[in-house]
Subunit: 141 residues, 2 copies
Amino acid sequence: MKPSTIDLKAIIRAEGLRYTNQRESVWQELQSSDDHRDAEDIYFSLRQKGINISRATVYRTIEVLVKNNLVRKLDLGDGKNRYECKWDAAHHDHLICTECGKIVEFMNDQVEGIQSDIAREYGFSLSYHIHQLFGLCEDCR
Amino acid sequence: MKPSTIDLKAIIRAEGLRYTNQRESVWQELQSSDDHRDAEDIYFSLRQKGINISRATVYRTIEVLVKNNLVRKLDLGDGKNRYECKWDAAHHDHLICTECGKIVEFMNDQVEGIQSDIAREYGFSLSYHIHQLFGLCEDCR
DNA sequence: AATTATGTGAGATTCAATATCAATAAGGAA
DNA sequence: TTCCTTATTGATATTGAATCTCACATAATT
């Protein structure tokens, strides 16, 4: 699905929320750049572009986007939440270089299957998972 | 390996560090109870037992234990680091109930193998990983 | 255009974790 | 044992991400 085909206004309003310039700005900003960005980063980018928005609104808007599955929250272990648009990619997880911070996305259907098996074994109904591999990338080792 | 067989003094001193009561206390406390505890929790437990130790020292000592592989740091997504002794268990990961917070440990050699394959494919040398499944446990769904 | 409830902004607040730095004590040397 | 050097500790301040507060602004309906 292409980003442009997602109508934030429709989604927002279907939730009974109001469509605002700030919400659209955050959504645009998240789509306009590399993934794995954090809230502070989004905030400063928008300010730099002359868009008037507050820190609180950035955080609140991201939360709305996450709740509506437009954005996925990532915890890459560096103490702040990161976010990625997930509209154009199949489910993937992350390899992270502990030296240079490089993030590589990987996909593996086999693991997904095993996860379901494990959940079933313990009587859990799965809603999401975190699967991250940390180590040194080719360049850093 | 039984906990009692681990000689913290020897390990600490082999690192060129000094063996102190505070470091021993934190190590004992981590072993004496359920796993998945956080630093604040350890701090209060020790204080309650009449052991004089500061918050800073608890944090610092845990860091030492982690660096020496006596303790594993967990990020279960609730905004604080948790720790577990790993001396008596094979490697395992976690299933977490998003409703009641229950934590279940699971082991799966197949996933471990696949992780190695993925790392090799992308030229990474793996040092550790995070693999957590979130959902509702039997009781909560 | 008027109404009203939701959304926003600026700043205060929270909370985990880290930094600072003077005082303390571990451990080697004599 | 006593002395010394230096790592460690404790009390407190500070950081940084994220959330909360509440007066004001504004979207959307009438």
